[in-house]
Symmetry: C2
Subunit: 278 residues, 2 copies
Amino acid sequence: MRLATVRTAVGTSAARVDGDHFELLGFDDVGALLASGTSAAVADVIGVVPSARAVLAPVVPQPGKIICLGLNYKAHILESGRELPQYPTLFAKFREALIGPTDDIELPSEQVSEQMDWEAELVVVIGKSVRHADAREARAAIAGYTIMNDVTVRDWQRRTLEWLQGKTFEGTTPLGPVLVTSDELGDATGLQLSCRVNGEVMQEATTSDLLFTPVDIVQYASTILTLRPGDIIATGTPGGVGFARSPQVFLRAGDVVETTIEGIGTMRNVCHGCEGSK
Amino acid sequence: MRLATVRTAVGTSAARVDGDHFELLGFDDVGALLASGTSAAVADVIGVVPSARAVLAPVVPQPGKIICLGLNYKAHILESGRELPQYPTLFAKFREALIGPTDDIELPSEQVSEQMDWEAELVVVIGKSVRHADAREARAAIAGYTIMNDVTVRDWQRRTLEWLQGKTFEGTTPLGPVLVTSDELGDATGLQLSCRVNGEVMQEATTSDLLFTPVDIVQYASTILTLRPGDIIATGTPGGVGFARSPQVFLRAGDVVETTIEGIGTMRNVCHGCEGSK
């Protein structure tokens, strides 16, 4: 099953994908649907929108928390001369960063930064509250998977030891297009993931190369705190980011970023210059 | 004016302190009151509770975001041999970490960690949405100030480069007891701050030693994203944490942690062993 959050005249609505239509369900978004405990398969349909006319919001627009991982693709860690880490590197992002799968990526003004960079990532969406999970409970807590491009303001990420400030610029982080439930994607292993910029493949990897798998990460994070329905966990990015290229490449106004994971879909976002800064 | 979030039989209620009583206002908590835009000074009183019988929740139980600073007391930075940083170090905490000003601090099981440590901090509470603020706008966006003890699981903080996992253990972080509005506290400079453990003074400093002031931090963070009513910003901790002592000292079950800021109040939290972990 594939779920989305569709923009409507009065806000957003959770929706179920049915061929070339979205069936609108009686919940404000996929997060609210998951929090309700209602099975999406049997939820009442309150309207239908042709896919061609639907505009999608972030698949979970208001997650209670957004947990992100760094350093989680084995080939990329080893090629950069590092040892495989014993523990996952966790950091946060705030919901103000999220945008929909076709929304513009908001570039900071040139005075703020000219180092916007891409990071294609597989995302776990939590479906059930869980704490101190074993592997079985962790697997059962996963509603399904979606895609994030963890777009990063590289120089701000590196201003201090902590990455948060480069990771949570408003309007930078596409999430979607849909949540594909675990009964279709299993543990999301062996999926091709890619990021293209203006049609050029910049990142390409398989989720089989993840050091910490979705189940590992849910189990680990649940040691720290309760994971709740609608929480999202971005599982890290493989090699090929602009910062590590020679010469370095960063996003400019008008650039088109396409982020794809096999079995989930593609997000297509255009970079847009921002005038708001002082 | 002093505001609090009082626990009731059916949840919580925002309240205004009036002598030895709490006047209950028609909002679920101080965050909801701030988000409503209603002036707390003129909000309707829907009930009264004697202070002696009131149990306080975290003063903002469900902040949209919790931004924390590291390395922000000048004397402490210099005494540890570092230069004063050019930029504030920002990291996050999730709301699951928050507890009330008299609640027990939940220790992880011994198998998880035996390195729980204290960090007394002045906290800014945002009262108005603000982005790309100048100093005047930043000051106007601050509703007031409260106290946090940013209790930290030290070994988990240091497992990886990113501190988040040691900073957001569930049920560890007291926030309160009250929000004191800016018209009483101004920019919150020159306030004595302390942390006592079992009556012994472990941290003692003045907020005049903050490198990045509340106004500085609000202005800086608003470059990154919109700050909203109820968001909280913890401004960092001075020297005297247990990890940096010789020998090191960590919190044990039964320890009493008192966190005080002049003009705001004191939180008193007892450490409680946790049995839930596997």
